[in-house]
Each structure stands twice: as C-alpha cells, then as structure tokens.
C-alpha cells in the first residue's frame, strides 16, 4: 500500500543565528537534525550516521582529499563534506551519498531555504 507523504515547512530560527563555524542541532518531530552553513548556503542532514548511529553533528564539515595519483594530495570539495566523528565516513552534504563509493549507506538530507531573514526546513 502506498502512503501519502506529507511534507511540511518548519521555521527553525533566524538566519543570523546559524553561524558558519559550527554545526547546529535542531529537533523537529522527534528527529535530531544537523544544520550547516557554508559561505554560499545552508544544508540539513539527519544527525545520525547511517553506519553505526553516531551524531554526525559532532564530526567535521569540511572538504576532503580527492582521489589522486600516488603520493599526491589534492584537497577539494570544501564545505561539501560531512564526516562521521566515529569511523570517518564522508558524505556529500547535498545528496547524503557516501563519497568515493565508501559505502552504499546514505545520510538523510532535508531541504532548507531562507525567507524574510528566517530559515525554514522541509520535513
């Protein structure tokens, strides 16, 4: 039986409250959600690593070392990678997909948007 998914928009605070230097946790409908602010925009992911359940918000939000030639280090994807604090799994903050085929597990992502100085999330 197919269900009807009702998506609602929740106001989660003033845009200015969400600073770029940390992960912000909000709780909606019993879910802990991690909010990240990059220089360009906002991202929201479920605050639970799909691997072993760690709080994603306690990990880094950064770039990573891209696949390279041996003994070369190329940093990229700045502010596009969320990293699990436990096992270091790296996920694309936009899609929730694990980077570089590390795992098929996917991090749940949510849409966020700004309106009149407020930040909203679609859940």
């Amino acid at each position: 039986m197919g269900g009807i998914v009702i998506q609602m928009d929740y106001k989660i605070g003033k845009v200015s409250e969400f600073t770029t230097n940390k992960c912000h946790i909000i709780n909606i409908k019993g879910r802990s959600i991690a909010i990240y602010r990059s220089k360009e925009t906002f991202y929201a992911v479920r605050n639970r690593c799909p691997h072993k359940g760690a709080e994603i918000c306690k990990g880094d939000f950064r770039g990573t070392m891209l696949p390279s030639n041996p003994n070369e280090l190329n940093y990229g994807l700045e502010e596009q990678v969320v990293v699990c604090p436990w096992h270091g799994y790296e996920f694309d903050v936009k899609t929730g997909n694990a980077l570089f085929n590390l795992t098929k597990l996917k991090l749940k992502t949510y849409d966020v948007y700004q309106k009149n100085g407020e930040l909203y999330i679609k859940i």
């Binding site: 990573t64 070392m65 891209l66 696949p67 390279s68 030639n69 041996p70 003994n71 070369e72 280090l73 190329n74 096992h87 270091g88 799994y89 790296e90 570089f100 590390l102 795992t103």
Partner: protein, 206 residues
C-alpha cells in the same frame, strides 16, 4: 619466467623497487617473491613481528606475516594505481590468511581513505586484479571450512599450483591438491589457466 625479488627490510611498495616494476612491465614479466628462509634471522632480512623467534616452528608459522605486511604496503602506497599492469605473485607464503586480511583492508580503507586518497578502489579489488598466490603450503582444514576459505580469497582466480616437492613440507603433488580441490573446473584453473594468464606465451603449453 618472472622477476624474483627476495624480500628484505624494505617493503615492496617502496619506490626503491619501482625501476624493477617498470622493467617488469616493459618485459611483460610478473614479479614474484619466494620465502628465502632468511626471514627474521639477521639485520636487513625481512623482519618478523614481535622480534626473534626461538624455534624454527615459530618462524615457519609466522612467515605469512611478511607477505601480509608487503601486500598492505603495495596497496596503500598505490603501486597498483601507478602500475596497473603489474602482477605480483607471493610464493610459499600460504594464503588461508588472505580472506580476513582483505576484509580488514577494505574496512580500514572505508574508515581511513583520506590518508591515502590514491587508493581509489577497495583494497580487495587490487588483490583480485594484481596479486596471486601459490597453493603450497596449503593450510589443511576440514573440507567445508576449506571451501569457504577458497571462496573468501577468490582462490579460483588467484591461485597457482605449487607443491614444493620434495621438501619436507611439500603438498604431495598427486594427493593434497586433488583431495582439497574436487571440482574439475577449479582444478583446471589452478593447475593451468591462471598460470597461463600471468605468464602468457612464455609458458610452454603441451
């Protein structure tokens, strides 16, 4: 025909060996390494973990450590990324340990990839594409366990028959192999096809 590299206290992933790998690829030869018997005995020999062993039995049992360390080093130094055509054969280092080692490498790669971002595939994929092992010394065990172990190490693709006859620890050519490998297709691969794929036209086929 192959290039034999007796192991020393420089691991196979080190750039020290790269000119040899380049020559091997140029000449279309695999690189093989065979236990020499000197492992863990003198400074400069390939060392065994935990220091000097007291008995030969200990040393004999722990030889695979050296292959394990060198295999890990080859993969995480990115040798098979740099030289994708390179084939490495570990001779007489046993192989029953390979399955758990591949699982451990894959798991560690998932956790620690950022340190060696040139390792683009799961480590076990490199093992399956670039690394081979010889059957002797087969770690004999009940058939059911043996079959699972062969499955784990992808033995049908990666094993080459060897017997070490007439050394004391040989796998008696007409007995051990045939008792443990009962499937004709598997036998054909390990006795013939796999070797042919590595040694190619240099191998005489009658």
């Amino acid at each position: 025909m192959a290039i034999h590299l007796p192991l020393i206290n420089i691991s196979l992933g080190d750039r020290y060996f790269y000119p040899i790998y380049e020559a091997a690829i140029e000449e279309n030869l695999p690189v093989m390494t065979h236990v020499t018997g000197a492992e863990g005995t003198y400074l400069g020999a390939a060392p065994l973990a935990a220091g000097l062993t007291k008995y030969y039995t200990e040393r004999y049992i722990t030889y695979p450590q050296i292959a394990q360390s060198n295999l890990v080093n080859l993969i995480f130094e990115g040798v098979f990324e740099k030289y994708p055509e390179l084939k490495v054969i570990f001779v007489e280092y046993a192989f029953s340990w390979l399955g758990p080692m591949m699982a451990r490498m894959d798991q560690s790669w998932r956790n620690l990839r950022i340190e060696t971002p040139w390792v683009k595939k799961t480590p076990s994929e490199y093992v399956k594409e670039n690394v081979f092992f010889t059957t002797q010394p087969i770690d004999e065990m009940p058939k059911k366990q043996f079959d699972q172990m062969i499955e784990m190490v992808d033995g049908k693709e990666n094993l080459l028959f060897s017997s070490d006859y007439p050394h004391w620890d040989n796998d008696m050519p007409d007995k051990t192999f045939y008792r443990l490998f009962t499937n004709d297709e598997d036998r054909k691969r390990i006795l013939h096809d796999n070797a042919l794929s590595i040694f190619g036209s240099r191998l005489r086929v009658d």
